[in-house]
Symmetry: C2
């Protein structure tokens, strides 16, 4: 237990926990201190299989880990239906909460978690890693500070990932009692998050799922979804989100504005660690004779020494240290981002449930 | 008048005619033979200002040009409301017809033109230049022949071009008696065409404009539009089209399928003449630890010695020569492509007129 490192515990041995275990140890201000599974055997196996150091504490129940006073932050890669129970308990045990997305099944559940965090003075952060990549910061700078894109007219955001056939009925992500939001929670969370991010976290006025775009499994869980998010304030913006378990991996974000446009095809997980890019066209227009463009899109490259998931961990550890050492209050921005994302995800779900009628926010 | 070159006449001196005059002379099998405007003065001015050779015949009326027996093909860059009148007359005068898009105000009008072409044995081609670029052929080859993209799940196609404020009330493209389809005819034609192209010219089952995406001027002309085209046969495909006079230049085409995806950001007019590219990701998936992708998108470069508009002219001149010299019948494929595009454009317009209710095809 190093003095200046924030101790993380991982609650549950989902596949994504491997990535986070690595991230916690890559982040310069945090260390993986303990893991827990519902069985000691499973937790031990996870530690061995993934080469975790022998110094890591291993717990055979979630409660035991939460009772360890050395643990300051808990990462919860649990099925969404378990989020309220364990995130609330973690907060009550004064642990900062890193909650895998979707944050909750609906905003009512999320509010229970956020209230527990507020009343216990702990930081909340959801697992939207891409928000912590320096590329995301650079894009925001260009979007808002330098007016290269101008007022945003149109956003297209998609996230798809092909799954094996057995996934559609058996995976926790498509089970009513586990992840009732289906693809909307797993991938749509990113698309909605990207639209909100591009609109500087203003909520859309109206959200409508598109009848053609909705596919469900036999349990009624959404497997693919296309929806329209509409902004009417100040400047009209139309955003289309698309998420699906049927297509191969894609994660497009295109933002078109009055001055130019911004494109990337790997917004959730960059093609490779260490360096990512996006394309910017501004001010894009045709040459006079319309035989070509006056500008080619510029490839803006952003290098990052630390992977985005480690930067996410680093941010949370930094906030945890600030709270502990300097008496800072928890940072409201992160839970607000999660809450707005949840509100819009809920609205898409509600529109689907209402046969794609528009839902007004 | 060279023996082996097909003689083109241009009916009208719109700005786009400059590009086509150049294209006709760049194509190896055609030559610009005459131009006509409604006034001789205007036609002469056009010829002088654009450095056309003095050998080119100049007519002060459209009828005179159509009566010139040496002219084999007529290019019509006229307001859409004039297409029926002049394209039908051109066909009756046994001229092959190169008609600027949108082909007509609706499919009823287009059928009058196509029937005139059929009954007079002349070739019809609309001005969708991008269909003639070798990049388009290469993409089709990859889409259909090699199954790199697989079954198409989702298509996003957009075309936007910012216009000056005065355009919105005065330009012919937003006038009820000139181009009543507004942005839908001018830019939406490309988006619809791209979806049909990607679906191998199957018509969608349902077309719905999205309420949030529709903006009109005071005369009711559509200035921006987002619509959903839905395919239910065999493999479900959702296509989103977006066209707008508000955003700066963008022309995105993204096709996502069960095996991979294909992206380009300049599908209507490539960034530059001579070489164009698109991005292909196949089979795209995450690395096991989800820290990156197993493949980066591949940049597929396609060089072209001849600009796409000249390739379009070349194709039409080739067909004209086949009809003249070998007695071939006109090629049905091109008018069929135009007709299907018009049917879908009409459906989007109808959905807009019906307050965005779905239109079934």
């Amino acid at each position: 237990m190093a003095e200046n490192l924030v101790n993380f515990g991982i609650l549950g041995c989902a596949k994504i926990a491997i990535k986070l275990a690595r991230a916690i140890n890559l982040a310069p201000n945090s260390i993986l201190y303990a893991i827990a599974s519902r069985s000691l055997e499973k937790a031990k196996q996870f530690a061995t299989q993934n080469g975790l150091p022998e110094t890591i504490k291993i717990y055979g129940s979630y409660e035991e880990l939460l009772d360890d006073p050395s643990i300051e932050v808990v990462y919860l890669p649990l099925p969404t239906s378990l989020h309220v129970q364990w995130a609330v308990l973690a907060a009550q045990k004064k642990k900062h909460v890193l909650l895998e997305k979707p944050a909750a099944l609906d905003v009512g559940d999320l509010d229970k978690i956020l209230e527990a965090c507020v009343s216990n003075g702990v930081q909340f952060l959801d697992g939207s890693m891409w928000l912590h990549h320096p590329r995301t910061m650079k894009m925001k700078e260009l979007l808002f500070d330098s007016n290269l894109v101008g007022q945003v007219d149109f956003i297209h955001s998609s996230s798809t990932a092909k799954v094996p056939p057995e996934f559609f009925e058996n995976n926790i992500r498509v089970k009513q009692d586990m992840d009732a939001l289906g693809v909307l929670g797993d991938l749509g969370w990113y698309c909605v998050g990207a639209v909100l991010w591009a609109k500087n976290y203003r909520l859309p006025n109206v959200v409508s799922a598109l009848p053609a775009g909705v596919t469900k499994n036999s349990a009624g869980i959404v497997l693919s979804c296309t929806a329209c998010l509409n902004y009417d304030q100040d400047h009209k913006t139309v955003a289309i989100i698309h998420c699906s378990f049927f297509s191969y991996t894609s994660m497009d974000l295109s933002i078109t504005g009055t001055q130019g446009s911004l494109h990337l095809k790997d917004f959730v997980i960059p093609y490779q660690e260490g360096s990512a890019f996006f394309d910017l066209a501004s001010p894009a227009t045709f040459m006079d004779d319309q035989t070509g463009w006056n500008v080619k899109t510029e490839k803006v490259v952003v290098d990052n020494e630390t992977p985005q998931e480690a930067l996410m961990v680093q941010e949370l550890a930094r906030l945890a240290q600030g709270i502990k050492k300097c008496g800072f209050p928890p940072d409201n921005r992160w839970p607000e981002i999660s809450r707005k994302t949840q509100i819009v995800v809920d609205a898409v779900k509600k529109s689907i449930d209402l046969d794609c009628k528009p839902v007004y926010l």
